[in-house]
Symmetry: C2
Subunit: 337 residues, 2 copies
DNA sequence: CTGAAAGCGCTAACAT
DNA sequence: ATGTTAGCGCTTTCAG
C-alpha cells in the first residue's frame, strides 16, 4: 500500500494522462472523453487520491471557509443557527470557522481582524452589538448579518422583533392585563432596542400606561432573569404581566419567583422570546414568540454563498416569519389588586 | 490606497529586503537584525500586509485546522465543550471546523471521510457512538476522544461516568430510598453504558434490589425524559427515586410530572447528570453530577495540539474530576408506601 | 479533447 | 544576518 498520500501527479501517471486532465475529470467531468474519464476515476480509486484542498484553494484564490462571529458559543440559542448554517455550508464544501466575540477584549476589533485577514471567503455576523463602522474596509469579503442591524445597508436575515413584542403586549392586553412590564436585553444591542421599541409602541397603541420603572434591564441570560425576579419581588406596586426579551431570562425569572412561592400564571403572567427547546418542558410551559433559528441559519448561509459566488458585496435581505406560541405561562390577571 | 491585498513580495520591495527576511521577521523575529526588523515591520504596516494562510499552510504541509465531530451541534451540551476547544485552538492559530454526524446518513462513514480527506491536522471526537474500527486508516491524523471510549487505545479526555452514577445512588440510599430507578441514554452509547454499569454496581454494593423494569431507556433528550415521565406515572409500583443519565432528560421528566401534579422532591426524588446551566434555575433546582465541560474541551485541545506538534499518533489520556452537586430535587422518600 | 506550462503566496534549505 | 531558489499541489489559460 502507499505509504504517503497520493498527489494529482500520481493519478496522472497511473492513468497515463496529464495532471490537467485529472483535474478536469474531477471538477468538470463533462469536458473529458468518457474513456479518459473512466481511466482517471480508476486511477483515483487505485491510489486513494483526495484533492489537496489547501493547494486547490491557493490556486483558486479562495479559502473555502466562512467565519461565523457570535457573542458566545456556549449559548444554546446560537447552536441552532449554527446547525442551519452548517447544513448549507458543508454540502457546498465550505468549512465553518467559529469565532467567539466575547473571548477577546474588543469584539469590533475582532471583526476588523477577520475582515482583513483574508482567512475567509465570507462572514456571518450573529452579534447584534457589533458596530457597523467596523465594516469600512475596502476589499473586504461579503458579510451577512443574521440579526437585526442598525444603520448600514447590509444583507441580513432577520425577524420582526418589534412585531414580536407587540404580539406579547396584545396577548396580555386581551387577557385583561393593564399593568405590563418588560425585561430587556443589554442596552445598545439591536435586538434589545427593537423589542423595546415594539413594546413601547404597542403599549401606546393599546392605550396602556407605560411605566418606566416596570422596564427592567437584563442581558439575555438566565442569571439576569433571576436578578429581575428579585427586583420584581421587592416592588410595592408590581406589574401583573411581564414580557421578556429572551426565553433564557424568562426561565431564570420563573424559577426564582416559583421558589419564592409565586404561582405563574395565577399571580403573574409571563411571555418570553425565542422558543428555545426547553421552554415547552417547563411547568408551566412558557408562552413565547418562536424564532425559526435553523431557518435563519439556512437563509443567511444561502445569501452569503450567493454573494461569494457572484462576487458581489451587497445582496437582498430576508425577513423570516415569527410565530406567537400560546402555552400556559400567561393567563388573566389576579382579581385582587 | 492599495486596491488589492499586499503579498510578501510587496513588503519585501517596500522594505528593501528579500521575501525570506520578511517571512523570518514575522515568524522568528529573533533571528533578524533589529534594524531590519523595524524596516520590515514598518513596511508591513504601510502595506497592510497579512500572511496568506492558505499559501503558508500549503508550503508547511499542514491545514491549520482541526475538525470536531459531534452528534448534534444544536445540543447545548456540546456548545460548552466547543467553547473550551476554541479557547485553546484559536490562540494557537488553528481553525475549528465543525461536522455534525447526525446530518448525514452514516456517522462512521463521515469519520472515515475526515480521517482520509487531509482537510485537518487533527480530529476531536465528541460522539460516543462512533465505532473505533473507523480509525483503521494508515497515515491518519491524530485523534482525541473527548468522551469515554471503548476498545481502542486512543488518547481521550473523559470523566468517571460510573462513579457519577454511584454518587447518585449513594445519595439516594443515604436519604433512605430503597426503590431506585434509572433513565438511561441510548443503548450502545459509551456514556449510557458506563453510567448504567455504575448504577448497577452501586445498587448491588449498597445492597438494594435491582429492578429491571425500573430501568427506562431514553436518548438524552428532553422529549425522552417527558416520555419516561409518562411511563413512570403509569406504573403501579413506582420507584421513589430516579437517576437520569442526562440533565436534559431530567428536565423533560420534571416538567411532565409537575404538570401531572406530582411534587418533587416530596413524592419523588430525581438526580441528573451534567449540570447544564439551566438546572440551577429550575424549581426545584436540580441535584446533579457536574461535568466540567469547558475543562474537557480545553484538555482535549491541548492533548491534540501536542500530538500534532510532536507528530505522534498516540498520547496520554486524561480524566477530569466530576462533582456531586446537591440541590433540591432529591429528598427523603415519602413515608406512606 | 488533451497536454504543457505558468504560477497562486509562502517558507525552508542552502548559500553567501 | 540575509538573499536565492526550489518547490508545496493544484488549476487554468493557451496551444495543439
Amino acid at each position: 500500500m502507499d505509504r504517503k498520500i497520493a498527489t494529482i501527479q500520481d493519478v496522472a501517471k497511473a492513468a497515463g494522462v496529464s495532471t490537467a486532465t485529472v483535474s478536469r475529470t474531477l471538477s468538470k467531468p463533462s469536458v473529458v472523453a468518457a474513456a479518459t474519464r473512466e481511466a482517471v476515476l480508476n486511477a483515483v480509486a487505485e491510489t486513494g487520491y483526495r484533492v489537496n484542498t489547501t493547494a486547490s484553494n491557493l490556486r483558486r484564490q479562495r479559502t473555502g471557509s466562512v467565519i461565523v462571529l457570535l457573542p458566545n458559543i456556549a449559548n444554546p440559542f446560537f447552536s441552532q443557527i449554527l446547525a442551519g448554517l452548517a447544513s448549507v455550508l458543508t454540502p457546498a464544501q465550505y468549512g465553518m470557522l467559529i469565532a467567539d466575540t466575547q473571548s477577546g477584549p474588543d469584539p469590533d476589533q475582532l471583526l476588523a481582524h477577520y475582515l482583513t485577514s483574508g482567512q475567509a471567503d465570507g462572514l456571518v455576523l450573529l452579534d447584534g452589538s457589533l458596530s457597523p463602522d467596523a465594516l469600512e474596509h475596502p476589499g473586504r469579503p461579503p458579510v451577512v448579518m443574521a440579526c437585526e442591524w442598525m444603520g448600514r445597508d447590509l444583507p441580513s436575515v432577520r425577524v420582526e422583533n418589534g412585531r414580536g413584542a407587540a404580539m406579547a403586549v396584545g396577548h396580555f392586553a386581551q387577557l385583561g392585563h393593564r399593568a405590563i412590564g418588560h425585561v430587556t436585553g443589554p442596552r445598545g444591542n439591536v435586538l434589545t432596542e427593537e423589542r423595546l421599541r415594539g413594546f413601547r409602541e404597542a403599549m401606546v397603541s393599546v392605550g396602556l400606561p407605560l411605566r418606566e420603572d416596570w422596564i427592567l434591564e437584563g442581558d439575555f441570560s438566565m442569571d439576569s432573569g433571576a436578578a429581575a425576579a428579585r427586583v420584581w419581588l421587592a416592588m410595592k406596586d408590581r406589574p401583573t404581566a411581564l414580557f421578556f426579551s429572551s426565553d433564557e431570562m424568562a426561565v431564570g425569572f420563573l424559577g426564582a419567583v416559583q421558589r419564592a412561592g409565586i404561582h405563574v400564571p395565577r399571580e403573574l403572567s409571563i411571555v418570553g422570546f425565542d422558543n428555545i427547546e426547553i421552554v415547552q418542558h417547563l411547568s408551566p410551559a412558557l408562552t413565547t414568540i418562536r424564532q425559526p433559528r435553523t431557518q435563519i441559519g439556512i437563509r443567511a448561509a444561502e445569501l452569503l454563498l450567493d454573494m461569494i459566488e457572484t462576487g458581489t458585496r451587497t445582496g437582498p435581505s430576508d425577513v423570516i416569519e415569527i410565530e406567537f406560541i400560546r402555552r400556559d405561562s400567561a393567563g388573566p390577571p389576579p382579581v385582587s389588586r
